[in-house]
């Protein structure tokens, strides 16, 4: 069975032309003769597909091109070149039918109206998206239940905490049951509990509705919890597209061994690179290939209380990916 991809990018590019000029009158006059223009390649040839119902994590440092790509996908920006189609539409044409089937949630900006209860902002969206009353009721009830919105609905949005506001924002964005959901840093600034709740919600929502989700985040926990597949972007280019586990595999040559001894007196340098030692808990970094051998030696030669072998934290992996990409 061949299902056409929901999202399809082929060599997508977005280039900004920026005029550079020193400040001051002389430079202003000089620029009459010679205009210095430089190009910023925000997105520099990206290609990937998203199948219907997939959820993909979109990773990259600031300025990598994540938000620019997301904006092109939602029709907010015109690409400079390349192919782009979402649900069979060309996003920047801003077809009404297209807009009715997507949604964009931005973690750092609110679409809810500040002074009135969230419930009334919901009504507003209902009118704008022309949601039939029965569907609206059903969807709203479901979202209220899943996100525990009941006590929040009648409070003015300005009186809600950041986390409560985010939950309402997400609900408002999903009232029209979009097929494609773009989440731009949805958990930013939230406490750990709230982040977890939102993650659970996204997973459950997807399970129920089969929406295609593209998620950008700085929090590895988001990506780890939700996305099997990650796309890493840096300097506008694709660095990696595949399973998270494979990412870790590919970009780490090391493993971390955490050994619990009685104290830190022993010199562990012989076994590997000592990262830290506190109260006898030593963290070592060893090349992957040597893991088994070193572990064996430590167990044999030292009075070990406890020992674990771990992958390096994903943040480290990602940083390494970026560093490589920057090179």
């Amino acid at each position: 069975m061949d299902t056409a991809p929901t999202i399809r990018l082929r060599d997508l590019r977005k280039t900004y032309r920026v005029t550079e000029r020193e400040p001051g009158l002389r430079a202003a006059l000089a620029s009459l003769v010679h205009r210095r223009k430089s190009e910023v390649r925000a997105v520099d040839g990206i290609t990937f597909d998203l199948a219907p119902g997939e959820i993909v994590g979109f990773l990259g440092p600031n300025g990598a091109g994540k938000t620019t790509t997301l904006k092109m996908l939602s029709g907010l920006l015109h690409p400079t070149s390349g192919e782009l189609s979402v649900l069979g539409y060309v996003p920047w044409k801003r077809d009404r039918a297209f807009l009715r089937r997507i949604t964009l949630v931005m973690g750092q900006r609110n679409q809810l109206i500040w002074d009135i209860p969230a419930a009334d902002s919901f009504e507003l969206n209902r009118a704008i998206y022309r949601i039939p009353p029965a569907d609206y009721r059903r969807t709203l009830d479901e979202l209220v239940a899943l996100l525990e919105l009941e006590p929040l609905l009648r409070k003015p949005v300005r009186n809600l905490s950041l986390g409560e506001r985010m939950k309402c924002e997400i609900a408002a964005a999903l009232l029209h049951s979009p097929a494609v959901v773009f989440l731009d840093e949805p958990t930013i600034g939230l406490d750990v509990t709230m982040q977890r709740r939102i993650r659970t919600f996204i997973a459950e929502y997807r399970r129920r509705h089969g929406a295609t989700v593209l998620l950008t985040s700085h929090y590895m926990a988001d990506v780890e919890a939700l996305c099997k597949r990650v796309i890493v972007i840096h300097h506008g280019q694709l660095l990696f597209d595949g399973e998270l586990a494979a990412l870790v595999q590919k970009f780490t040559a090391d493993k971390t061994i955490v050994v619990q001894l009685k104290d830190c007196a022993a010199d562990m340098g012989a076994y590997g690179e000592v990262l830290s030692c506190q109260d006898g808990r030593t963290t070592l970094r060893v090349p992957k290939a040597d893991t088994a051998r070193v572990t064996g030696r430590i167990l044999a030669e030292l009075p070990v209380v406890d020992l674990t072998v771990e992958d390096p934290p994903i943040e480290e992996v990602i940083e390494r990916v970026f560093a490589q990409g920057a090179a």
């Binding site: 202003a28 006059l29 009459l32």
Partner: protein
């Protein structure tokens, strides 16, 4: 050519942008301060023309002279402290001011004067433009010009003190717009802005002499235009001096009372 046009565009953009950023509200005031006297200038000259002569001792060209001078005097003496205070209280920045050992009015006067210096060329240009269009009848005498300067300084101080006191209402209610509106009405009628004071009906003229507003704008204007007798000029100075003392006292008392309330209610 295109590059040149783009250069102009950029420079205009930056110039406008920075003007808007830093002196935005003052530009608004500037336009208002030029437009309002202009409007009344036109209105009263129209009235004077239709009555075939003069109104309240002002002929067509006298009205032109009056309002051009009024524009300059008003620009020199006006304040915006009422809006400042409202903003400061809402943002809570007054708390910082209360910690200063210096009375906050001094900083306000300084800011007021420095902004006016910046806007001065524009106002003068506007006055010159209007003079070219309306051919005002100026009759300056050395005495008038000499007396004008201290009158203007006193007018500025009296106006500042009165406005500052009224602005303190912001400490007592959040609905300051009504108070501002009443204040604006009083200034409009009794400082000689809506019409020269001799044009007002007698009862209103009496009220105008009792209130401080005449001495903040109308008096210096009439003085410079040579419309006052020696006796009237002296009386005017006396009134200004009296209101200066009264204003200073008001400010002191009102400030102390308001600060107490502010600290009681909570910053």
């Amino acid at each position: 050519m295109k590059a040149l046009a783009e250069l102009y565009l950029q420079e205009i953009k930056t110039g406008v942008a920075s003007m808007l950023q830093y002196r935005a509200t003052l530009v608004i005031w500037l336009i208002g301060n030029v437009l309002e006297p202009l409007i009344y200038l036109v209105v009263w000259t129209t009235v004077a023309r239709s009555t075939g002569g003069s109104v309240g001792g002002y002929g067509v060209l006298d009205f032109a002279a009056y309002y051009i001078v009024l524009m300059l005097v008003n620009q020199a003496t006006f304040t915006w402290v009422m809006y400042e205070f409202d903003y400061r209280i809402r943002e809570g920045t007054f708390s910082a001011d209360l910690l200063h050992p210096v009375h906050p009015i001094h900083a306000d006067i300084a800011t007021n004067l420095s902004s006016k210096v910046v806007n001065l060329p524009f106002v003068v240009a506007a006055a010159a433009g209007l003079a070219a269009v309306f051919h005002p009848a100026f009759r300056f005498t050395p005495l008038a010009v000499a007396a004008f300067v201290p009158a203007l300084v006193l007018a500025f101080l009296v106006r500042f003190l009165v406005d500052w006191t009224v602005a303190l209402a912001a400490f007592w209610t959040t609905r300051v717009t009504a108070i501002n509106q009443i204040h604006y009405m009083a200034v409009l009628f009794f400082s000689g802005q809506i019409a020269p004071l001799t044009v007002l009906p007698r009862p209103l003229q009496v009220v105008a002499n009792v209130l401080p507003f005449r001495w903040t704008v109308g008096f210096p204007v009439e003085l410079l235009l040579g419309r006052l007798t020696r006796a009237q000029i002296l009386t005017g100075f006396a009134a200004q001096a009296a209101w200066l003392l009264a204003g200073a006292l008001l400010v002191r008392v009102a400030w102390r009372v308001s600060v107490r309330r502010y600290s009681a209610v909570g910053a």
